[in-house]
Amino acid sequence: MNYLWRRFPSLLLTLFLISLVTFVVVQVVPGDPAQIILGTEAPPEALADLRAQLGLHRPLPLQYLSWLTGVLRGDLGVSLRHGRPVATLIAERLPVTLSLATLSLSLAVLLAVPLGILAATHQHSALDYGVLLLAQAGLALPSFWIGILLILLFALSWRWLPSGGYVPWGESPLEALRSLVMPILALGLPVAGVLARLVRASMLEELSRDHIRTARAKGLSETQIIVRHVLRNALIPTVTLLGLQLGFLLGGSIVIEQVFALPGVGRLVLFAINNRDLPLIQGLVLFIAALVVTINFLVDMAYTWLDPRISLENKHGS
């Protein structure tokens, strides 16, 4: 708990700086939401009215301050293009992206950890090389390309799965899963590749340690050694990587949501940036930053569980 309280101010400062940088970057990048709304065919006389209506005529520091005070009151503002609260827009799309991210990550873990362990315990065998080859392939193939291949196979040729779209879990869990199978594979397989290699490498490193030789000498069975002594230690870098991969998954979901027509947060990010919808960009960046910061925090907590020697109190002090 102490640790949490000590980290809290720096977390807030991080989020504040991120929001400030985002605001400045959006201002520096050319592009005016009112111009984008009107395009080339609307009467440009409407431009000034529209800018005023969107609140873009106010001085920049004032725009930022009013946004900041709103956030402190728990109000992320209203999207320029959607005309609806940013928080509502994010909340509506969150289930899609969260399902996608957590299920992809789960798939990656379920595939990568056993395969990594098998490869490490059978080093230099055909199995080992097979896993390495698969992992390398998963790593090399971009998500969107896997996605298109999956659509061609499962939707166009075999007609097993819908080529895109999303059915909410509440409406039909089966259809929801069917609509997510291909996106999960497309997003999860590359992560599984990275993860499998890492699990294998850290397992091998642990296996070569002195205390493992001692354990073997004591007559412990191989399974006991793997589960009790090797795996736990080997999982520490894995957990770190998982935390980092979440950022990759959020980035990847922008592309994958586009390919599979999923109404998620990723699509919203793209929409917000293309339309220079500042309140929406700010809200999304803040939300995603908060999410990543929270995940990193949870990863830190997981270390203590995996390895009691790691103490967050000390780590912070040192």
């Binding site: 050319p30 080339t40 006389e45 409407a46 939707a155 999303y166 929409f271």
Partner: protein, 528 residues
């Protein structure tokens, strides 16, 4: 092929018949388009045309989500494509660009063109069950003009000085000055008639009097509509339900058409048309689009402030090669700033035939015997404009002009190139208005739309006269002359008019293409 020729002949006959009736006493009661397949110029009329079948549901893939469903508060094409089915307007445009009756059965204008009287149907109901009256028409235009509404299209109607309702089914508009485009301005989706009581929630819960009523809008996913049983025209629409599904990825849109998950993809990219025509169970219909693509020239920036250089550019570009190379043959060459589908179009394609030798002479004459270096700004993500630019750069190299291609993201492009006029050459397109005035007035020197920096007082005067004249013959003369002036001054390189291409499942019938960006589903039905 014989069958196709027969269809073309039938279509031609119908168009001719339509033109003849259009010349007769106006206005006509009830529109040709929506009377059902027997009387309507559907894409495949003819003696053997099948009778429309009632029922079924249709799924249309759309590239972008709607920008809300309040027709008075947006300029988004994605919204108006759909709202045609939810709302009605006083008059409407048919596939042949003629103005037809919609909520108004007839109308007349005073001799000075300042008073317009519209007689309304008395059998129109809103989706909330209330009958529509003249008060709703008055309210709708007052709402558009109210600064509180901040309608981006308010400027189109601010010549209205008074709206009177002598009785429940008559509306009289008084204008501050005659406006030639007034009638056609009432046919756009943003002139929709709405019920006052629903005005505040139209964005998310649209209520109109259109052929379909609203079921749900799940943002970024779909918009669902169902047949409105009290729609004022009997028999239409045929479909029970329509879903517009947002699929922003172009390959994904086409795959979902091939798998049958969607029935219609309204905008098929040029490079995909040939493949789709081969695909089993799918038909592609094509029609010249009410729009043009051009290579815009910044007329104020050297060396393009020199007429000879601009003309050289026009001679140096092989438009047919651009159509073949950049649009896979899907387009027709043009010579001026109007599409061939327009009644006001003048064929100027022979003004600058492809002649690289002549281009080199003109360049030498202007002091550039060895050519020069320049840049072409290309708007991302519009790949058809980008491809036009790529082919053009290749052609310009042959006369010594080395063009660097600069791809610019749309938001940035609008600020720098279009509104900021900070460019030399750029590929762009202009679309979808019914009157020639909004097409051609962007070259008027004091207008913000004059991004090519064209400045010709004579042209400005003609534009002014054309916009207020209500003598059709004089207007034709004026707009013909304006098109000729633009071509003579080589203000831009007018490249091509693209084709609209719609991909449909075989069983979908009656889909029609309109000169404005709408998907009108009243005539659409599904073979069961």
């Amino acid at each position: 092929m014989n069958a196709r020729n027969a269809v073309h002949l039938a279509l031609l006959t119908l168009i001719l018949a339509g033109l003849l009736t259009a010349c007769g006493p106006r206005p006509e009661v009830a529109s040709l388009t929506v009377e059902g397949p027997t009387a309507s110029p559907t894409p495949s009329p003819g003696p053997t045309a099948p009778t429309a079948q009632r029922g079924g549901s249709l799924t249309v893939a759309i590239a972008a989500d709607v920008d809300g469903l309040d027709p008075h508060k947006t300029v988004a094409a994605a919204t108006f494509q759909i709202t045609r089915n939810l709302y009605d307007t006083l008059v409407q445009v048919d596939p042949q660009s003629r103005i037809q009756s919609d909520l108004a059965t007839s109308w007349e204008t005073s001799a000075d063109g300042l008073n317009w009287t519209f007689h309304l149907r008395d059998d129109v109901f809103f989706h909330n069950g209330r009958g529509m009256t003249a008060a709703d028409v008055k309210y709708s235009f007052e709402r558009i003009l109210d600064p509180e509404t901040a309608s981006p299209r308010a400027k189109d109607y601010n010549i209205m000085t008074a709206i009177e309702t002598p009785d429940d089914h008559t509306v009289v508009f008084t204008l501050s000055e005659p406006q030639a485009a007034f009638l056609s301005n009432l046919a756009y989706g943003w002139a929709a008639i709405i019920p006052r009581e629903a005005a505040d929630t139209l964005r998310d819960h649209p209520v109109g009097s259109g052929p379909f009523e609203f079921v749900e809008w799940v943002p970024d996913s779909h918009v669902k509509l169902r047949r409105f049983h009290k729609y004022f025209l009997p028999d239409v629409p045929y479909l029970d339900q329509v879903t517009f599904r947002v699929i922003s990825d172009p390959p994904a849109r086409l795959i979902s058409l091939k798998t049958g998950e969607v029935d219609v993809v309204p905008e098929v990219p040029a490079q995909e048309i040939a493949g789709l025509q081969e695909a089993p169970g799918i038909q592609v219909i094509q029609q010249p689009f009410n729009g043009i693509q051009l290579l815009a020239i910044n007329n104020a920036r050297p060396p393009f402030d020199d007429l000879r250089v601009r003309q050289a550019l026009n001679y140096a570009i092989d438009k047919q090669a651009v159509i073949e190379g950049a649009q896979w043959g899907n387009g027709v060459p043009i010579g001026g700033h109007m599409p061939p589908v327009s009644d006001f179009y003048v064929d100027l394609t022979d003004r600058y035939p492809y002649d690289p030798e002549k281009a080199r002479e003109l360049l030498a004459d202007a002091g550039y015997p060895d050519g020069f270096e320049t840049t072409i700004a290309l708007p991302q993500p519009y790949d058809f404009h980008i491809r036009n630019g790529e082919v053009i750069a290749d052609q310009l190299a042959k006369v010594g002009i080395k063009a660097t291609l600069e791809t610019i993201e749309w938001g940035t492009y609008l600020e720098q190139v279009y509104f900021g006029r900070d460019y030399t050459l750029t590929t762009l397109g202009h679309t979808g208005r019914l009157d020639p005035d909004p097409f051609l007035n962007r070259y008027v020197s004091d207008r913000q739309e004059d991004y090519m920096n064209y400045n010709n007082p004579h042209y400005d005067e003609l534009a002014k006269e054309g916009s207020v004249s209500h003598d059709p013959e004089r207007r034709h003369e004026i707009y013909a002359e304006m098109q000729r002036i633009l071509a003579d001054d080589a203000v831009a390189v007018y490249l091509l008019a693209p084709l609209s291409s719609v991909g449909l499942r075989q069983e979908v019938q009656g889909w029609q293409l309109y000169p404005i960006d709408i998907y009108d589903l009243r005539t659409v039905w599904k073979r069961q």
